[in-house]
């Protein structure tokens, strides 16, 4: 009984969010004379042939992998109350440098890939580390420094690309780095489709998906099960209590930024190692900012982030068939925005409903009665207290900065 109630309450928020988002998006569509049901059927239509359907799934997954990594990078920092708005610049620097290094060495397959991954993670970690170091030694707010470093990364990457790392011919309209030799490519997972008896799609399913899954699991374990993760979350919940408990706040800021950055370094690799094999002027940008939305949507929890990433990827893919069906594709952007808002609003509403239920349910004296059910409604924090702390920490020059 109580288990049933608990799961019901846990599902309440996401369900509510979906309903709210559907209602708002439906209203928007109706307002512009689009039949929402038709739009929905267009969005969920993955094509007729098995090959088309599998392709659609591949497109969604390929898009979801970098989004997932971006969300994860943001979430790790969020969990300790740091707002890493600089993921954008971190992965850009990582990708350009990794592409440059990857193209300039020749190694046997797995080692080559490993080197590229390590370089990317290292470069992004350094870029994120600057933010951490500036925060603890100079008291510079991580928000401002990471915004600035995003722009600096943009310029620096451009300089590297058009200068020392330029690999494309002078006349080519897209400037790129030199192509990474085949030993540095990440094999696709298309073999899996054959094994599952599905059609082999024309598009390559990024093998990097596996790396993303592993990273997700590692982060989940790190945060939930380890002493380090405990320290990290404790700092996010209350920096003062954490340092009184023996957490070295300065080191924590830097370590967290390094981890967050290292994950950010992976964001560009699915494309780099799985499809493009070079970094160029057309390399996908903006994933760092989307990562913030994904992290928030996934409530900073790896599984939630995975779901959010797939959802966003699904919506992104839908923009093409919508256009083909003469429905404005900006509908998709509006849906994405509303969903983020809806999820958080739904969390709030669900929390209030749960409280009210508990209120009418238990009407006995003080909480001394230890039967376990009366305290239940409080057990699910709304959007994660780490978040309010994260924003609270926005720009605060905390005691750590003043010590020097």
């Amino acid at each position: 009984m109580s288990v049933l109630r608990r799961t019901g309450q846990a599902l309440l928020a996401p369900l509510l969010a979906v309903v709210i988002a559907l209602v708002i998006s439906g209203a928007v569509m109706a307002a512009i004379g689009v039949d929402p049901l038709r739009a929905l059927s267009v969005m969920t239509d993955f094509g007729e042939t098995p090959s088309q359907q599998v392709t659609a799934i591949v497109v969604v997954l390929n898009r979801a992998v970098p989004l997932f990594l971006a969300g994860l990078a943001v979430a790790v920092a969020f969990r300790m109350g740091l707002f890493n708005i600089g993921v954008e610049g971190q992965y850009r620097m990582a990708t350009v440098v990794a592409a440059g290094v990857g193209a300039s060495v020749s190694l046997p397959g797995p080692l080559h890939v490993l080197l590229i991954i390590v370089v990317a993670m290292g470069m992004a970690a350094i870029w994120a580390g600057i933010v951490g170091v500036l925060k603890v030694t100079r008291g510079v707010s991580e928000v401002i420094s990471s915004i600035m470093l995003n722009f600096i990364a943009l310029g620096l990457a451009s300089f590297l690309l058009t200068g020392p790392l330029r690999g494309s011919e002078p006349g080519a309209s897209i400037v790129t780095t030199k192509e990474i030799p085949e030993s540095g490519w990440f094999p696709s997972l298309n073999g899996v489709f054959g094994a599952l008896g599905l059609a082999d799609p024309p598009r390559q399913l990024y093998g990097f998906l596996l790396v993303a899954v592993v990273v997700g699991v590692v982060v989940a374990v790190l945060l939930k099960r380890t002493r380090f993760g405990f320290d990290l979350r404790a700092t996010g919940l209350s920096a003062s209590a954490a340092s009184a408990s023996g957490v070295d706040a300065k080191r924590m800021v830097i370590t967290t930024m390094l981890i967050s950055g290292a994950i950010a370094g992976l964001i560009g690799l699915p494309d780099l190692l799985g499809a493009d094999h070079n970094y160029g002027t057309q390399f996908t940008s903006g994933l760092g900012f989307l990562g913030i939305a994904i992290a928030l949507l996934g409530r900073n929890n790896p599984i939630g982030i995975a779901v959010a990433a797939v959802l966003f990827a699904f919506l992104d893919r839908a923009s093409v068939p919508l256009q083909i069906a003469n429905i404005p594709s900006s509908v998709v952007t509006i849906i994405q925005g509303t969903i983020v808002l809806a999820v958080v609003i739904a969390n709030e509403v669900a929390r209030r409903i749960a409280r009210r239920q508990a209120e009418s349910g238990t009407a006995v004296a003080p909480p001394a009665a230890g039967d376990g059910s009366s305290g239940e409604p409080d057990a699910g924090p709304p959007s994660g207290p780490a978040l309010s702390n994260a924003s609270g920490a926005t720009g605060r020059t905390d005691p750590m900065g003043s010590a020097s």
Binding site: R138, M148, L149, G337, V340, L341, E348, S388
Partner: protein, 426 residues
Amino acid sequence: MSTATTAGTTAPSRGPVTELFLGGGRGRRLTWILVGLLLLVSAVRVISGQQALTSSSTMAATLLLAVPLLLAALGGLFAERAGVVNIGLDGMMILGTWGAGFAGYQWGWQGAVLGGILMGALGGLLHAVATVTFGVDHVISGVAINILAAGVVRFLSESIYVDNPAGGGVTQSPAMSSRPPTFSLPVLSSGPDLLGKLENLHWFLLSDLAGVLRGFTNGVGVLTVVAVLMVPGAYLLLWRTAFGLRVRSCGENPAAADSLGVPVYRLKYIAVVISGSLAGLGGVFLVFIANIYREGQTNGRGFIGLAALIFGNWRPGGLAAGAGLFGFADALQLRSRTGVVALLLLVAILLLAVAVVQGARGKITQAVTAAAFAAASLVGYIVIDELPEGIVSFTPHLTTLLVLSLASQRLRMPKADGLVYRRGEH
């Protein structure tokens, strides 16, 4: 603040020179800092021959680049002073540009002002509903608004401008039907243009001063004037009126304000809507420059505005300085790649000063670090003629970051900034 108090207590032992520079409170000190900076820049200009450093043209560009940041930052000021972190400034600015474009082509520049403010205010209202009424985390709501704004303007343009006989398209509006007026100081910066003549003589200090003054007084748009006046205006409103006190109390301790009968929710709403309006006005300013709305026009300026706000320690004067510094560095890099190199000389001199001061205070590590960086800058200045576009493009950002790390000032955000306030639970 702390320097002020130490200065106060050690007053008797101070020589007349120190008294001249540091006495007389904040106003005098500020004046001296400005004079010092001008002297320094002027010297660097003469040494490097980079006339762009203080030309009226660069100053005018500085103003153009700084004003949208200033407006966004002022918007941020209102929201954050009321305790609501507004990372959605950029989205509200985007809405403002669209509103200005839409109203501007139909009703001229006055319409554009209203349209932009209105759209920005709508964005603010949405943020207020989410954060204040629903208690949604401020960062989440802001990020969502940024995403949403981009979608909404694209969508609106798609439905209104495509196949619109007045022109426009998915990414831009038709041109505004009238232009906002501009002002110049008669005689000095227009007509006989005495300042312009003086500037062109390239005299030490005098020409620099003339350049700066002329840049700020020649062909200045209405919105620029309004925006600049808003800096003291915001100070007076927030620090000298009951309304301002109430707003600030919401950002410092909403529970306390609430317990005194201050309508916290309503004030937060008002402040966040003002915030959105100001960001929207920043958007209007951008539309005024181009005379049309163009998608992507804000180009992340809302975020820079937020940075200017933090840079300025959540104070009107400070954020104006932040926006100004950014605007100057940006203007310089847009105008002259070689001018940027001259900045290295400026940096070298400043760092050298820091090294000397720190050395005198006995902070050897800091002094050595500063001196090392000073030397590096100097070498850079001597060796480099012109920087590649990629490097030059981030001059303003790097400058902001450097100044922040150097100043290492104790920034202090409103205490309850970003915290969701829920009154009781009922």
